[in-house]
């Protein structure tokens, strides 16, 4: 499990493509580039905490999107009862979801760490169902959305006029990536987390408290995704099943990037966001956007295994 690795040749190619494609797009279909970076930023930033859990704790958290959905509800009700803007509600959300993450870890995840992977999947899948049904019972399936005027801010560049607010997701993805990389490489706790992700027994043997590391990483990740739920709410409505597509997409991004490759998750998110936006930009083909997501996923995974066979 690599939490970071040296740049490989195919990653260089990807880097070139990721520079070349935007330039072409900027000239040809600027809206696709803008929409893609915004959408891709949202996918990427939400996938990052899931990648952290998988890379360090080794658990595929199928309830990831549900934690985001609960975070969005949390922010919505913070708005209704305390008058907090969702972006401000991110702060109490961090605290509340760190706690929720810790409780979830202690009560469920910790007990399943040594269980077969299939059981772990079933466990987190079950948690996702519980989360969805809980939201359904508490708040019905009706979509909820606060009214926020600032999300409609836009700028005009020459003939180009576009919304700027959603770049918050693009920025959030990059900021979170940088912060996580700094944490993992520069702090003792982060390095311990990397060690635990690569070899838990080896980590114990150098004096790392593996259980505490798992608890910490799981809580931090849930805190992050809960707060991101609040950020999600600024542009999207929340309803009980709002989170599940994000579980799927996060998981796909991580599978594409390879476990532990956080920058890969972010580039992949932007790539897929742009691909989706491109398809949607052809009138009448909008419905194919989701198909593109999975088509790119299948292509990348097949390409990877092909390379492995020929390497």
């Amino acid at each position: 499990m690599t939490l970071f690795r040296t740049l490989r040749r195919w990653q260089l190619l990807l880097l070139l493509a990721s520079l070349g494609v935007p330039i072409v797009l900027m000239l040809w279909k600027p809206y696709v580039l803008i929409e893609g970076l915004q959408r891709g930023g949202l996918y990427a930033v939400i996938a990052l905490p899931m990648a952290l859990i998988l890379g360090v704790v080794g658990i595929i958290n199928l309830a990831h999107g549900e934690f985001m959905m609960l975070g969005a509800y949390f922010a919505y009700w913070m708005g209704v009862y305390a008058g907090l803007d969702p972006l401000v509600a991110m702060i109490p959300a961090v605290v509340a979801f760190a706690l929720l993450g810790a409780i979830t870890y202690v009560l469920t995840i910790r007990r399943a760490l040594k269980a077969p992977e299939l059981n772990q999947l079933l466990l987190t899948f079950g948690m996702a169902m519980v989360g969805t049904e809980f939201a359904n019972l508490m708040w019905t399936s009706q979509p909820l959305k606060p009214h926020l005027s600032y999300v409609y801010s836009s700028v005009a560049l020459g003939k180009l006029r576009f919304g700027t607010y959603a770049f918050i997701y693009t920025a959030a993805a990059i900021v979170l990536l940088v912060l996580l990389q700094l944490f993992l490489r520069k702090t003792r706790l982060g390095r311990a987390a990397l060690a635990v992700g690569q070899n838990p027994r080896g980590a114990r043997l150098v004096g790392i408290d593996v259980n505490r590391t798992y608890l910490l990483i799981f809580s931090v990740s849930i805190a992050l995704v809960g707060a991101l739920g609040a950020m999600f709410l600024t542009r999207h409505s929340v309803f009980p099943s709002a989170g599940s597509p994000f579980t799927m997409k996060s998981f796909c991004l991580i599978a594409m990037a390879g476990i532990g490759n956080l920058p890969g998750v972010v580039w992949g998110g932007f790539g897929l966001g742009i691909a989706e936006a491109l398809v949607s930009s052809f009138r009448g083909y909008g419905g194919w956007a989701d198909v593109v997501f999975f088509a790119v996923l299948v292509a990348v995974i097949m390409g990877k295994s092909y390379r492995r066979q020929t390497a």
Binding site: T2, L3, A195, N199, G202, V206
Partner: protein
């Protein structure tokens, strides 16, 4: 320093440690025995990687038996595991640093300890920036030993350190282990009885989970059973 008393361990119904008792003072001690005798299980029980059913392990008068592994390590025991247990996607240097970074008392001496590792195994200095997972088996073995020494442990446990090393390196390794004995007490599980006996002062022979023989090295060297079963004489 280390006292193991009447340790019993079972894997399911298999009784793999039977009333094992041994002592390590400040000297070097060997544990010899064939495959499956229970050597790895014994050292795992000492550092808390397996939980024995009965018996006790004390280190400097304190029982280790209920402690989680990381606390055993922080109390001054280091293990070079049979499977090495390195961090494959970290550089050699980062692996070495990890040996001291999480032990409160060892952190401040990290640069000196790193220097000492490179002196003990010069090849590690050459490979310092290479990922540990890309080292050869022998190089990984050296890295595992150096990583364990990074914390200047009071007791160093080595589980089959000579496994997979070329004969000339084995000789060199036991020579180094003997030198390490000046800095730490040593408990070494080995199958290569002939060579490792020269590196330790005292030895135990463990067979089917039981201590079959014990004594100073020169006595074991003269023992008929040891000569027949382990030295092929």
């Amino acid at each position: 320093m280390l006292a193991v008393a009447k340790l019993n361990h079972y894997y399911g119904k298999a009784h793999v440690l039977r009333d094992v008792s041994l002592d390590v003072g400040t000297e070097s001690v060997g544990v010899f025995g064939p495959n499956g005798a229970g050597k790895t299980t014994l050292v795992h029980a000492i550092v808390g990687l397996v939980r024995p059913r009965s018996g006790d392990v004390t280190f400097d008068g304190r029982s280790l038996l209920r402690l989680p592994t990381h606390e055993v390590i922080r109390s001054g025991v280091a293990l070079v595991p049979q499977e090495r247990e390195l961090f494959p996607y970290m550089s050699v240097r980062a692996n070495l640093e990890s040996g001291a970074a999480y032990i409160p008392g060892a952190r401040k001496d990290l640069p000196a300890a790193l220097q000492a590792s490179f002196e003990m195994f010069p090849i590690l200095k050459v490979r310092a920036r290479q990922l540990a997972g890309t080292l050869s088996g022998g190089e990984q073995r050296m890295l595992a030993i150096a990583r364990a020494m990074m914390s200047s442990p009071k007791l160093l446990i080595l589980d089959e350190p000579s496994l997979g090393l070329q004969p000339s390196l084995v000789t060199e390794l036991f020579h180094k282990v003997r030198n390490l004995g000046e800095r730490s007490a040593i408990l070494m599980a080995e199958q290569n009885v002939r060579q490792s006996l020269k590196a330790v002062g005292r030895g135990y022979v463990i067979e089917n989970g039981q201590i079959a023989l014990e004594g100073p090295s020169d006595e074991l060297l003269r023992n008929d059973h040891v000569r027949r079963a382990y030295l092929g004489l």
